[in-house]
Symmetry: C2
């Protein structure tokens, strides 16, 4: 059973941001902004409000969203400073259990990607495994910058959808 | 001696966001976005880039920024979950040492303000003391919503300026 939409619509902004503030990694401003769009008809409608907010940002704002994301299998994973959501997602895709050669390859490709585009490689880890992530990273390094900006933002939206769905289930089981 | 602007302009986005990510409270996306605007001519120019980014946001985005701010003398102060910057600013203005009557008055006015406007009362604590903050909070509760949205954003910019200046001094003394 999920937390229902009337319950979500009745949340004061502080609770709404506490619960949903990290559906876009480290961008609680987005959650906080779309609270103004209540009432939502459904979770899909809430998700659409987030997408629309992101789409309306200038290009630098979209780049800013990507730059708030950690590298996959990067410094934050190693130093334990990932957000809870990222930690779970990266672990689920095996990013915390790379062999030495895979880890080196991942680090080099991440660096290449960032050097080339000025933002990190973002992919919805829950929809991929380690092999596919390495393959995608390698391929996407070859793209045009504009293509990758758009692609990164699309991946952010996929992550957002899965985080939203998980939170609505968790909040319901906690009898919020 | 301050960290000079060529040093700032040479920072990779990860370092830039690590250092300056909280100049607007809990909105690293803003810092991350304006990295795209390098090179900056001066700290004032960097600050102007932040202001322009904020000004270009839709109304909901500006509300979102305010909603990422903690209450003064509120839950986050009591539970120790303020950001470092907020904690120092609130302590400097005496928010951690209110008498019982002042604390009650502050809590009630904060609640009134949030009920009325749908975002929290934001004021640059470093430019005010406890008496002045309570007086301003009381007065500003009476304003029109649009006036308060604009006023809150102006206060965010004042906080941002002081945080930027402090960080540039600290980073220089740490020989960044």
């Amino acid at each position: 059973m999920n937390m229902d939409i009337p319950t979500i619509n009745a949340l004061p902004y502080e609770d709404f941001v506490n619960i949903f503030g990290n559906v876009v990694e480290k961008c609680p401003i987005i959650t906080a902004a779309i609270w103004s769009r209540r009432p939502f008809e459904s979770l899909t409608d809430l998700e659409a409000a987030i997408s629309q907010f992101i789409d309306a940002l200038p290009e630098s704002g979209k780049e800013g969203i990507l730059r708030c994301h950690p590298d996959l299998a990067g410094r934050d994973l190693q130093s334990g400073t990932l957000t809870r959501e990222s930690r779970e997602e990266q672990a689920g895709a095996g990013m915390d259990a790379l062999g030495p050669a895979e880890a080196l390859r991942m680090a080099r490709l991440n660096e290449d990607y960032k050097q080339r585009f000025g933002f990190p490689f973002v992919i919805c880890a829950r929809m991929n495994d380690k092999t596919r992530i390495l393959q995608q990273l390698s391929e996407r390094c070859q793209h045009e910058r504009a293509v990758e900006l758009e692609r990164g933002v699309e991946e952010v939206k996929k992550v957002c959808r899965l985080r939203l769905q998980a939170l609505v289930r968790t909040a319901a089981s906690n009898k919020l």
